[in-house]
């Protein structure tokens, strides 16, 4: 793993060739994201520049490495990627050069040297079904998570798998996968969901920790409100078409070519909270909806189990024909039974009918 000689992030970024202008631009983005006044950009830059290289241990469990790829391969070089490099990333399977016992030794050393101060980043879900489903150096994921979390200042669950279980936890969840929060409950946890999460969101949380020495405000799902406070639908540039009732009906019709709303094609933007529509991807180039595909809702719990991807949100998620057929048949049967009962009642009333003659009526009581 590349280890810069610099002992703080500012000098490390300068060594990496990042100009002061670019760095301030990044700080301005962060200030805007955190809804801070423009005057705070200088303060953020000063704090971030002087921030010591915090020790970070990154554990990867049941995951696909997409979260790491998102951060390191999005564009080269990005300040987001460089900040990841400049922090003291003491342990990361994919990025570290060391392997085997040497790698584990590095983790133990980092835990010992920075006890109570290091950040633990986790990507991937934790299997509870069987300890052997996912192990690192012979240690089960759940044991390693508990061991490393014990001395951590905070835990950042990166990606939907670590935050909510994600695809490994999708039905029928063969490994008994759970999110980090199901195992660790005595440490502050920040969920940074997404499949994968947006790079600037990951570094935004890191930068907040480095700049302010704490974690950002979270929503009820443990996500930083600044990035997950609004739905994709509310910030989507196609929203006016939704309001006008203009929808793409297929992926290649006139509506799709004109960039109309993708709601009817199954877009989950209305129930998905993330920053895709504002920060976008690949240095602000685009995001899925801009590329012509509806949002899949990847940053929400239950991603993968909340109905078909290509059915509109208001459409049934399951086949209801069978239930309707059985109900109609039962209705006919119950109706027939009621009809028989009513006819019986009618016949009984007829049998009990006592004829009244004119003479009867004229009789004085």
């Amino acid at each position: 793993m590349k280890r810069p000689a610099a002992n703080n992030i500012g000098s490390a970024l300068r060594e990496a060739g990042i100009s002061r202008r670019d760095f301030l631009g990044f700080c301005a983005t962060l200030a805007a994201a955190y809804a801070l006044p423009a005057a705070s950009v200088g303060a953020i830059a000063a704090a971030l520049e002087k921030a010591p290289r915090a020790s970070v241990i990154w554990l990867s469990f049941q995951e696909c490495t997409g979260c790491t790829e998102s951060l390191t391969r999005s564009h080269a070089p990005t300040i987001e990627g460089l900040i990841l490099e400049q922090i003291s990333l003491d342990y990361h399977h994919t990025l570290q050069a060391a392997a085997g016992e040497a790698a584990e030794q590095a983790r133990m050393e980092a835990m010992r040297a920075n006890a109570g101060k290091y950040l633990l980043i986790v990507d991937g879900s934790v299997p509870l079904g069987n300890a052997g489903y996912s192990t690192i150096a012979g240690v089960s994921n759940v044991d390693m998570l508990k061991e490393v979390a014990q001395g951590a200042a905070a835990v950042i669950a990166v990606g939907t798998c670590a935050a909510y279980g994600g695809i490994p936890a999708a039905q029928p969840n063969p490994t008994g996968a759970v999110p980090v929060s199901a195992v660790i409950n005595d440490k502050p946890i920040v969920n940074v969901p997404g499949c994968p999460p947006i790079p600037v969101v990951i570094t935004g949380v890191l930068a907040h920790f480095l700049t302010f020495g704490g974690l950002p405000e979270l929503d009820d799902l443990g996500r930083p409100k600044i990035f997950y406070g609004e739905s994709i639908h509310d910030r989507c540039y196609r929203r006016p078409f939704y309001d006008q009732g203009k929808f793409a009906e297929t992926f290649d019709d006139e509506g799709a070519r004109r960039g109309w709303c993708l709601f009817k094609l199954g877009c989950k933007g209305p129930v998905t909270y993330n920053a895709c529509a504002t920060t976008k991807w690949n240095n602000g180039v685009s995001f899925p909806i801009q590329s012509g595909h509806g949002c899949l809702g990847c940053s929400q719990p239950g991603f993968w189990d909340m109905g078909p991807f290509y059915k509109a949100l208001s459409m049934p998620t399951a086949n209801v024909e069978k239930a309707a057929g059985i109900a109609a048949a039962a209705g006919v049967a119950a109706g027939a039974a009621m009809a028989v009962a009513n006819r019986g009642k009618k016949a009984a009333a007829k049998a009990a009918h006592a004829p009244v003659t004119v003479e009867d009526l004229e009789k004085k009581p």
């Binding site: 006008q244 129930v271 239950g302």
Partner: protein, 219 residues
């Protein structure tokens, strides 16, 4: 259970349950009413007026002479509420998608602004007719639990739908789930409350129009 899980349940098992209850009840009541039967009419019809039953279905929706002036709130409120509700239910694109998902039929949706205005008018009309019912001593006396229940079952989906559309809470997902659940409640209760008139009025009006015509009072 998270809001999204609730929404997913409402779109799947919840919808199946509500549809099953609604369909079961509608079939049961239609079958029961039809099976009651009538004795064969042996008399010759006084007037030959084909279509009298069908015309009555429409004519009974118009106020008899002088009645609009006597009860303007009932008629105006009733018209606005029923027409507005039809626009909100059948004009909003996501609702049309639901109908397409269930029955395979579709039609173009209306602009949201128009549907929104119709919804506001419907909510206002429903509140007005409720106030009228509460303030008029005769109507209040005639109203029973079934009337209040029917009003509530109709009003809650409108209100939750309006709140969801306008994101009146940070938790849009929960509002949407509550909206769908309230519609499912309406659907499940429909056959067993006064709301059954959405089906029963056609049968009742047709029969009344047809029998009256045969007796010489053609519609």
């Amino acid at each position: 259970m998270s809001a999204l899980e609730l929404l997913t349940w409402a779109r799947g098992p919840g919808l199946a349950l509500a549809l099953a209850a609604g369909l079961f009840g509608i079939v049961l009541r239609v079958f029961e009413i039809q099976a009651l039967g009538r004795k064969g009419d042996l008399a010759t019809a006084r007037t030959i007026t084909p279509g009298s039953g069908w015309r009555t279905i429409l004519s009974r929706s118009l106020p008899p002479p002088g009645m609009f002036q006597r009860a303007p709130l009932t008629y105006a409120g009733g018209y606005v509420f029923h027409v507005g509700l039809a626009i909100a239910v059948f004009g909003f694109a996501p609702h049309i998608e639901l109908i397409r998902g269930l029955f395979g039929v579709r039609w173009p949706g209306l602009p949201n602004l128009f549907v929104d205005a119709a919804t506001v008018a419907t909510i206002a009309a429903m509140l007005a007719v409720l106030a009228g019912r509460l303030m008029d001593p005769v109507k209040r006396l005639l109203s029973g639990f079934g009337d209040w229940l029917a009003w509530t079952l109709t009003f809650v989906p409108l209100l939750t739908g309006y709140a969801a559309f306008h994101h009146m809470s940070e938790n849009y997902t929960l509002l949407l789930a509550l909206h769908i659940l309230s519609v499912e409640l309406l659907l499940a209760f429909l056959p067993f409350t006064k709301l059954f008139h959405v089906v029963g009025l056609f049968m009742a009006r047709w029969y009344n129009g047809d029998i009256a015509a045969k007796k010489g009072v053609a519609a």
